[in-house]
């Protein structure tokens, strides 16, 4: 087998992040002339396999096992390990969601094969494939290569590829059996649940002022709220603000929070870690103010200001009030 994309299910359908990874795999497959197959397993695996059979893939592998009906890191990892041992793919690819982070490294440990995570792209160079990811607070980029024979495991960062580019087709479904020993499955899980529904809905906002670590201290929050009133904007935040308890979780923008697409996204003191950027880079106009000229937020900003928000924000509020 050439390339195996392992699918993640959510509410009976294929997770968007898995489709994005499949788009990456389809592109890689074309570049290096390898066929792409997919693996469906876990709860609702039959539905996932049917959905996947409508994609442009070589074949769909279906694993059905009662041990996979609720989430178990050990069962999920062992399933992928056994399928990889049977089918010998050159690449094993997943969308690197928060669930996949929990078990894909186990597959790496059990197969003793490299796992390269949060990959945003790839390059082919001679016979080599290089995997690109961001490092050191998202400020620098590195190309990583596998140094061993056999499969390389790749986890693609959310939103690195667009699920809209998925190529449709038709593929056969083939059932593969795995042997899971329930005595080896250490953990048990409960059903996922959502917290704090009914909080702020930023997804419909036309203007968002979003704040990050650069706000400095909680005493500066009224300054931000004054600007929000003057600009008639909602307030969003990056993770450190929510972690500090200055705003409730429902204000968080990014992979842990909401994905937003306002007309104006004004980022104040936000460095622009990729976990935040994936939730706001679809905004129509991004304006960023940050003291650090190397802050990665400037890479996605339409307008950038290197400066002190404590100095600029009160003046901006005054000026907006006088408009």
């Amino acid at each position: 087998m050439d390339i195996l994309v392992v699918l993640e299910g959510v509410n009976g359908t294929i997770h968007r992040i898995s489709k994005e990874a499949l788009v990456a795999a389809q592109a890689l497959g074309k570049d290096i002339n390898q066929k792409v197959s997919v693996l469906a397993f876990g709860k609702d695996s039959a539905n996932l396999s049917k959905e996947a059979s409508g994609f442009n893939v070589n074949e769909v592998i279906l694993v059905e096992d009662d041990n996979l009906n609720s989430y178990s890191a050990d069962a999920y990892a062992e399933t992928i390990k056994q399928v990889v041992e049977k089918e010998s793919p050159n690449f094993v690819i997943m969308g690197y969601s928060y669930l996949v982070r929990d078990f894909f490294p186990k597959v790496s440990a059990r197969l003793q094969k490299p796992l390269i995570t949060d990959v945003i792209g790839y390059k082919t160079d001679g016979g080599k494939t290089l995997y690109t990811k961001q490092v050191i607070h998202g400020k620098l980029t590195v190309d990583i290569e596998s140094k061993v024979e056999g499969p390389v495991l790749v986890g693609f960062q959310s939103a690195a590829y667009s699920a809209d580019n998925l190529e449709n087709g038709s593929a056969e479904i083939r059932t593969v059996a795995v042997a899971l020993d329930s005595a080896q499955l250490k953990t048990t899980s409960e059903e996922p649940f959502q917290e704090e529904s009914g909080g702020v809905d930023l997804t419909a906002a036309d203007k968002i002022i979003s704040i990050g670590r650069g706000v400095g201290k909680e005493e500066n929050m009224p300054m931000v709220k004054d600007l929000a009133v003057a600009l008639k904007a909602e307030i969003g935040a990056s993770r450190p603000i929510v972690d500090s308890g200055w705003l409730p979780n429902s204000h968080q923008v990014g992979s842990s929070g909401q994905s937003v697409t306002p007309n104006l996204y004004l980022a104040l003191g936000i460095s622009g870690a990729i976990q935040h950027v994936v939730g706001m880079k679809g905004s129509k106009n991004i304006v960023a103010i940050n003291r650090d000229p190397d802050a990665p937020i400037f890479e996605v900003a339409d307008y950038g200001i290197v400066g002190d928000i404590l100095e600029i924000v009160p003046k901006l509020t005054e000026s907006l009030k006088n408009q």
Partner: protein
């Protein structure tokens, strides 16, 4: 309960970064170092687990890094309440393969027989997010990641895992367990003056990385480190604060039509 906590010293979020001439890492001379953010939350959780069980037990701080700078964050962790520390001394070039890093940790701590090992979910520099899970696998422990809540229940560990977009899931694990902590589950404490003084007397066991025997060689390697290209053309607004504000309001009005 005997708890090990992995902490890593990384470049701080606002540190200047200059790529080294070998294009594999940054020139450390210009870096401002800090404790990896999620590791601070992991340490705090370890200290609170011991406090909740009436002070019974031990928190061992474990860190890998060079001898000249790593002791700073180890002492800080001891000042906050860690009981003793293990320092794996590593000189540049640093190990970047998470499987090798986990193997070195596993070999260094296997005789400690920890009930629980905690770490941050990922390092802010390499960001592979795998070390904790692979370490747990190598030591035969149960594992869970992105933990936002920890409960002890009937001799087991019940943890709240974060999923995307405000979703969570509770997972129950048997001991020994190795879990990785997501930022935000507690409020990390500051070291007290008494803690800082006391930390000077606490044991730090130093081991040279070269003396730790692990099998195998790195399975993945950095090929090249570089600055990325901007996704968009960014128009920089410059001038005094007043001039910047004037230009911003103009852009809000005419270009963005936000006011």
């Amino acid at each position: 309960m005997k708890i090990g906590v992995l902490v890593k010293q990384v470049a701080g979020s606002e540190s200047p970064l200059r790529i080294d001439s070998n294009e594999k890492w940054v020139d450390e001379g210009s870096v401002d170092f800090a404790t990896n953010e999620s590791d601070s939350y992991a340490l705090e959780e370890a200290l609170q687990i011991i406090e909740r069980s009436g002070g019974e037990g031990e928190v061992v701080v474990i860190s890998m890094g060079p001898a000249d700078r790593t002791p700073k964050i180890i002492r800080e962790a001891l000042a906050k309440g860690g009981h003793r520390a293990i320092h794996i001394q590593e000189e540049a070039p640093y190990e970047t393969d998470p499987f090798m890093v986990a193997s070195i940790f596993a070999e260094s701590i296997k005789d400690e027989s920890f009930d629980l090992v905690l770490s941050g979910l990922q390092s802010d520099d390499l960001g592979s997010g795998q070390t904790g899970v692979i370490l747990g696998e190598l030591l035969g422990m149960s594992t869970a990641t992105l933990v936002m809540g920890v409960e002890l229940q009937d001799g087991k560990l019940r943890v709240k895992r974060e999923l995307e977009s405000g979703w969570f899931q509770w997972v129950t694990l048997p001991f020994p367990a190795c879990i990785t902590i997501q930022s935000g589950l507690n409020q990390p404490r500051y070291p007290s003056l008494k803690g800082i003084m006391g930390a000077k007397k606490k044991e730090i066991k130093s081991i040279a990385k070269g003396d730790i025997k692990v099998s195998g060689t790195p399975m993945q390697e950095f090929s090249k480190l570089y600055s990325h290209k901007a996704e968009k053309r960014t128009e920089m607004i410059e001038g005094s604060a007043d001039q910047i504000v004037e230009k911003m309001v103009d852009i809000f009005k005419k270009e963005i039509k936000a006011i």
